[in-house]
Structures are given as structure tokens and as C-alpha cells.
Amino acid sequence: MESIGKSIKRTAGNLRKNKFLFEELVKRDFEQKYKRTILGMGWSVLAPLLQLLVMKIVFTEFFGKNTPHFTMYLLSGNVVMSYYKEATKNGMTSLVSNSSIITKINVPKYLFLFSKNVSALVNMGLTMIVFFFFCIIDHITFHVDFVMLLYPILCLLILNLGVGMILSALYVFFRDITYLYDIFLTILTYLSAIFYTIDRFPEKVQRMFLLNPVYVIIKYFRVLVIDGQVPSLQYHMLCMGYALFFFIIGCIFYKAFNKRFVYYF
């Protein structure tokens, strides 16, 4: 227990010491992403819009008719899912793509992963503009409770960091993990009820959806925004429980292999 406390303290100290480096890394990730595109930041807004448009056209016929605020239903799923995808996929390659630095300069390696997560988070913030814009179009009245959206986003951030730590470590050892993870993401997308509703499934199956952390977060968005309710306390605990679970697994995983990375670059 004491050693955990110590390593948390050390990590916090490292973060403070490396604040400048961290800022520069985030800046770099951001510029890498947007500098080369003519649309720049606009792309972050445009991409979810296009995705939404396609889904809206295709799926309204099948699922949309009985679902109130179907646009927001779709958009909640998309915003959460694309944030999760971006953060974990970029996080996965963060160590290997910086290997030339890691083998020459003694910097905390997780900074590269964290910076990718922060830039994905900022990107998510931009898509939230689209989200709120469509709230207006879809006749959803804004409510003070919308502040609570920060909670699932925080949970997702922690979850992404955890998953990122696991994936980035695995990717150092096995470079073809990226293909496997792509397949996994496709499956996850279909299992996260992004464009369909789950009320037609039997009760038992519906509960099984809660085993999927991404779905749990998406549902939080929907309950809050579409149904206008703040989820129950247990639900809050479930969100954070998943986040912490993956974060701790990630830390253990990362710590176990951290010192061996250097041999694999």
C-alpha cells in the first residue's frame, strides 16, 4: 500500500516537473493532426456531422421512428465512441512512435500516452459543440443538469488512460495488435447500441449490455440529455468502477513491463 502511495506521489512530482514538456507534447500532437488539413480544426466538427448525416439517413427508417430524439440518440453514441476510438488508438502507438526519443533521453514514457489522451479530449470538446448545436435543433431544452455530462467524460478519460496503458505496452511487444484491435473496435461499435435501441431484447440480454463500459457511458449521455434525468447513484458508481478498474489494470500492466520496453525498440 505504501509503495502505491509513493509511486503516485512520484508520478505527481514528475508531472509537475515535466509540465512544460507535457504542454509541448500536446501542442505537437494537435499540430500533427490539424496542420496538414486545409480544414484544420473544422475537421473535428465536420467529421461527426458527416457520420451523423449518414447514420440518420440510413437508420431512421429502421430504428428512428419509435425512438424520440433519434438524432441525439445517434449523436450521443457517436461522440462517445469516436472519443474512445481516437484516444485508445492513438494511445496504443504513442510509445513506439516516440521510441527514438525514449531510447535517448530519460523522460517519463507515460507522458507520450497522456498527451495523446489530452489532445483526444480537446478534440472531443470540439465535437461537443456539434452535440449542443443539435440539442437545439432537436428541441431539447438545456438544463442545469447538463453540467453532469462532465462526469461520464471524466470516467471515459480515466478509462481511456487505462486501456491506453495496456494497449501501448502490448503494442511494443506485438506490432500486429493494431489489426486485432481494429477488429475488436468494429465489434465493440456494433455491441454498443449506437444506432439501434436495445428495448427489443429480452431483459436478460439488456442487462448484459451493461458489461460494456463504453455502452454504460453512452447510456449516461442519453439518460441525461434525452430523458432529462440524472442517473442513479449506483449508475455513477458503475461508471467510475469501470474506469478505475481499467486504470488500475493498466497501471499494473504498464509497471510490470515498463522497464523492458527499451529492448524492443
Partner: protein, 323 residues
């Protein structure tokens, strides 16, 4: 109190099929028993310590474990056995030009590198101009880094690294950057830093550089510590002899013997060169006409017993001869 203390440091290196291998291939190879990993000791039982103001020269042929040892000291690698204790902050200049981002501008790269070396933003704001001036990249500030020539890249890298005011400075073959003019400039700058009394470690294949700068020597060979001493002269001599004869000393007496051999050999070589020249001159003396013979005679005498010559008279004779 030592600034760097290495106690029985051993570093195991793993190599073999593990690099860039996929999960699929890993499983297949494991199943067919075709997965080979070799472990070897890149460094074995290295023990040394240096005090404040020391400059440790690490010598040894390729694959001796010098760079790996440096990685353990800087904390990039963790020793498999033993311990490394370091007091103060380290600035390590290992393979300077790598680790830059080609798609960022010179300015952005300078800031990022500064951040990695542990500078603060204020410090970089203050020193940025100096960096650009020193690296002579004033016209290229907003160029993409990949558009620079490799010489320019290393100049920038060196300029940033030079600003450090660390307690410990580690130099791995970095004193030979850029073209002639810049090399002189960087060499001067480095000397200035070294003379300020910084504690340092220097890895170099240039023996004369080590002789000039080092105050202690650590000699490694295939991961083993051959010797650690503050008798730089003897150690460098012995190493020079080792390069010729490939005989490793096992104790200090042998080292001293090697050193004497080296001095002897260098002396002999010099002697041989001299006697060759003299015999050449003697040939001229025997075969040539009068004037060239006299010239040759003067040269021989000036080699052997210069005190016999009256330079004034020779000058007069030469002038007379030419007219």
C-alpha cells in the same frame, strides 16, 4: 561524497526474435519451437565512482558496453544487478540529432527538445535567440525540420544541448558535429563548459581527446571492466598498445607494462622514421652534386647534433649559392 557511484552494475541485454514480431508470428514460432531469445551481459560487474569536477573517459572498442552503461547512468535503462547512484541532474547528449520531429518547424522542435532536456519555458524564451544564433539557423526558423540538411540538424541539437548548466554532463561521441568552422566553435564551447568545473563522462574513440579532457579512465571490453584508474596517461598508453596487439591487461602491473611497451613502440616508430629519412639524405650526399650534398649534410647534422651548426653562416652560404 561521490557524484556518480556504480556498484557492481550488470546489465542484461535481450535480443533475438523479439523485435517487431507480431503476435501471430510469436504464437507460430512458440508452437514450432522456433522462438529464440539471446540474453547476454552488455555490462558485467562495473564498479566505479567519480567525484565532483572529475571527467571520466570511457574507452573500449565497439560493443564494449559503453553506451549501455551510459543508459543505465542516465536512467533510460535499469541495471539488472547492482546499483547506480547519481547526485544532481544529468544532461546526457547521446546521439544528438535523433528524436526530432520532421513535420515541425525548427522553432517548435527547439522548444520541444528544450522541454525534454528539462528546461522551463521561461528559460527557453530567454535563450531561444541565442540558440538560433549559435546554430546559424536564423533564416530557417520557420522551416519544417525535415527540410534542413543533416549538418544543420546536428548544429541545432548541439546548440540546444550546449545551454545546459547541469551538474553532470554526459557526452557520447558528440564532439564532432557539423563542418570545420562549426566544429571549432562547438569544440570551444564544450571546453568552456568543461572548464567551468562540471562533472562529466566522455565517450570517445579519439584517444587524444580523452587524454586532453579526462581525469579518470574506465576501460571496458566486451562488457567487462578492464580497469578504472585516475592515471590517465598510463591507461591511454596501455589502450593504445591494446589496439595494436589485442592483449588485455589483467592487472595493474600488466597495464604499466603495456604502457611502457606503448611508449617504447612509439619511440621506436619515431626512431625508425628518422633513420629512414637520414639514410635517404645520406644517399643524396653520396650521389648528388656539391650543393645538394651540402644541403643534405646540413639536414643530417641538424637532426643529430644541431648545436654544431652556425645558422648565420648557413644562411649566408645559401644566399651566395642562389645568386
Amino acid at each position: 561524497m561521490s557524484v556518480i557511484e556504480c556498484n557492481n552494475v550488470s546489465i542484461k541485454y535481450i535480443t533475438g526474435d523479439l523485435k517487431a514480431i507480431g503476435l501471430k508470428e510469436y504464437v507460430v514460432r512458440k508452437l514450432t519451437n522456433n522462438y529464440h531469445i539471446t540474453e547476454f551481459w552488455a555490462d558485467r560487474n562495473i564498479t566505479f565512482s567519480i567525484e565532483e569536477g572529475d571527467m571520466l573517459g570511457i574507452i573500449g572498442s565497439n560493443g564494449a558496453g559503453k553506451s549501455t552503461l551510459l543508459k543505465a547512468i542516465t536512467g533510460i535503462m535499469v541495471p539488472s544487478e547492482g546499483s547506480v547512484k547519481v547526485k544532481g541532474n544529468i544532461a546526457a547528449l547521446l546521439e544528438l540529432a535523433s528524436g526530432f520531429d520532421g513535420n515541425m518547424t525548427v522553432k517548435e522542435n527547439a522548444y520541444l527538445r528544450g522541454a525534454m532536456l528539462g528546461y522551463t519555458r521561461e528559460f527557453m524564451n530567454q535563450k531561444y535567440k541565442e540558440i538560433i544564433e549559435f546554430s546559424e539557423l536564423g533564416d530557417f526558423e520557420d522551416y519544417m525540420f525535415k527540410q534542413l540538411s543533416s549538418g544543420m540538424k546536428s548544429r541545432l541539437a548541439f546548440a540546444i544541448a550546449c545551454l545546459v548548466e547541469p551538474d553532470i554532463l554526459i557526452l557520447d561521441e558528440v564532439l564532432s558535429v557539423g563542418d570545420g568552422a562549426f566544429r571549432k566553435k562547438s569544440g570551444d564551447k564544450m571546453k568552456e563548459i568543461l572548464e567551468s568545473g562540471v562533472t562529466g563522462i566522455l565517450v570517445s574513440h579519439s584517444l587524444s581527446q580523452v587524454r586532453e579532457l579526462a581525469t579518470k579512465i574506465l576501460w571496458l571490453d566486451h562488457g567487462k571492466q578492464v580497469l578504472f584508474t585516475d592515471d590517465v596517461e598510463t591507461a591511454c598508453n596501455a589502450y593504445g598498445e591494446f589496439l595494436e596487439t589485442k592483449v588485455l591487461p589483467t592487472n595493474w602491473e600488466e597495464t604499466e607494462k603495456l604502457s611502457l611497451d606503448y611508449i617504447e613502440r612509439v619511440k621506436n616508430e619515431r626512431e625508425e622514421k628518422r633513420s629512414k629519412e637520414i639514410s635517404k639524405l645520406e644517399k643524396i650526399l653520396a650521389e648528388g652534386d656539391k650543393d645538394t650534398a651540402v644541403e643534405a649534410a646540413i639536414k643530417i647534422i641538424s637532426h643529430r647534433t644541431p648545436e654544431l651548426l652556425d645558422l648565420e653562416k648557413i644562411k649566408e652560404w645559401r644566399e651566395e649559392n642562389n645568386s
